[in-house]
């Protein structure tokens, strides 16, 4: 199964690079740079595996099978466009070890480059007319925006950012698209919506686990992760490790420090140490394992097959990732 997936991902890469072609050389180069810089291709991989579950079992799922590569491409284009836009909003210098587009060409160029990828994604919509896939992607796109607004409105506001609010944010920003990748892949493979919905729920659990892991990695040193640490707390984003540490050891001084808009490096260090000393990381790891268990429980509702095994392994891989 993984050899087949690898082949599909290679074809996907070619398709993505073709989508970067533009009349303007600078646009092509900027977009090619971000595509070539890598990325885990989680969303298209999940879509493909879920597609296989349907397409490889036509006797069980006799619905019409559609091509999967255009859907994989749409998902990755949508995701890449959102990363380019996020980098503008966050004023990030680097993405995947490569300088960001807005640092090279300015904010307007970067935002428009992301929009160009959305235009390329639209070219594939007609393939999935009538399947429910296009509607699902439009809904998720809206949820992602609302998740970003929610996060923006809670920056530096510890009172507003409860654990429930945090989970709502990460579901919208991350988990729903991963869930939709599974759902849409399954539909494209001819699976009925009821069973595809089970895969969506699986995807949302591992999407939540994925984001929780990302939030833990932000508290680890840059030597371990390859990325500067402490970015979330620096920007006033309160993630689960911090919220759980504060729950274990409520501390007014820490709350006041966290709510400060301009923190020194020393102050960032104090907050990160607080999280580590009060088990913010360990407690969040427990939540990740709980999500993994829920994801694998969802899969048990579907018949055994190689694709189901692959999804189960994917859940374990994402739980244990170090980068």
């Amino acid at each position: 199964m993984y050899a087949r997936l690898q082949g599909e991902l290679e074809r996907l890469q070619e398709m993505l690079l073709e989508c970067c072609q533009s009349e303007f050389l600078s646009v092509t180069e900027n977009l090619r740079r971000i595509i070539i810089s890598g990325g885990k291709r989680i969303r298209p991989s999940l879509a493909w595996i879920c597609w296989c579950m349907g397409a490889d079992a036509q006797d069980q799922y006799p619905g019409e099978t559609k091509e999967i590569l255009p859907l994989m491409c749409m998902l990755e284009l949508m995701h890449t466009a959102s990363l380019i836009h996020d980098d503008v909003v966050d004023n990030a210098d680097e993405r995947r070890g490569v300088i960001t587009i807005h640092k090279i060409s300015g904010r307007c160029s970067a935002v428009q480059s992301g929009d160009y990828l959305l235009a390329r994604a639209m070219e594939y919509l007609h393939i999935y007319k009538g399947t429910g896939i296009n509607e699902a992607l439009a809904d998720i796109s809206m949820e992602m925006c609302l998740g970003e607004f929610q996060q923006m409105s809670h920056l530096f506001d510890l009172k507003a950012c409860t654990v429930d609010v945090y989970y709502s944010q990460i579901k919208r920003k991350t988990a729903y698209l991963i869930g939709a990748s599974c759902y849409c892949g399954a539909l494209a493979g001819g699976m009925d919506p009821k069973n595809a919905e089970i895969l969506r729920e699986y995807g949302e659990q591992i999407g939540t686990a994925f984001q929780l892991k990302d939030d833990i990695l932000d508290y680890q040193s840059s030597q371990e992760t390859g990325k500067p640490a402490g970015q979330d707390i620096r920007r006033g984003i309160f993630t689960l490790p911090f919220l759980l540490a504060l729950k274990e050891a409520p501390c007014r001084q820490i709350e006041e420090l966290a709510a400060k808009r301009c923190k020194t490096e020393e102050e960032i260090g104090i907050l990160m140490k607080f999280v580590k000393d009060h088990h913010g990381i360990e407690e969040t790891e427990k939540c990740i394992r709980a999500c993994g268990r829920k994801a694998r429980t969802k899969l048990e509702q579907l018949p055994e097959c190689p694709a189901r095994d692959a999804l189960s392994e994917m859940a374990v891989t994402l739980e244990n990732r170090k980068i």
């Binding site: 646009v27 503008v88 639209m122 007609h126 809206m142």
Partner: protein
């Protein structure tokens, strides 16, 4: 009915149509105001829906107007990034999602392709250095697509 009454009735129909489109996009307009951007005037709110109203008579008219207005605000905002990158980028993305939501139920491959082509050209010119969204070009585009056979 007299000519004056007919004209008044027509005027009322247009205002009703505008009000329905405003209602469909009310969440987006509330977000716009919440971000403290310069308020949208009557012309900005209605020049796109009005054009669709006059050029398209089919059952998709409202969805088309909402899609076109959302697309207009998406493009306008993404050419305004220097004015406030966080708000304009995110709100522009919101209106792109809104555009998608209203476009998809119209279920016209030709229409989707026309928008895709328009966005491709507009976005790459924007990325390549153009710094303003052209209202005139967009107004022409709306007239062309509103007249498409499957929308009438």
């Amino acid at each position: 009915m007299t000519g004056g009454s007919l004209e008044h009735q027509k005027e009322m129909e247009i205002r009703d149509f505008e009000a329905r489109i405003d209602s469909m996009l009310s969440e987006g307009y509330a977000l716009w105001n919440g971000f403290g951007l310069e308020p949208l005037g009557d012309e900005e709110l209605h020049f796109v829906p009005d054009r669709v109203y006059f050029c398209c008579s089919g059952r998709h008219r409202e969805n088309l107007a909402a899609a076109c207005q959302s697309f207009y605000l998406f493009r306008r905002l993404h050419f305004m990034t220097e004015a406030g990158p966080e708000q304009t980028t995110l709100l522009g993305d919101y209106f792109f999602s809104s555009f998608s939501r209203y476009l998809i139920p119209i279920d016209s491959t030709r229409l989707t392709d026309r928008f895709s082509e328009y966005l491709k050209q507009d976005a790459q010119e924007g990325a390549g250095g153009r710094r303003a969204f052209s209202k005139e070009t967009y107004a022409r585009f709306i007239r062309e697509i509103s007249g498409m056979e499957e929308l009438c």
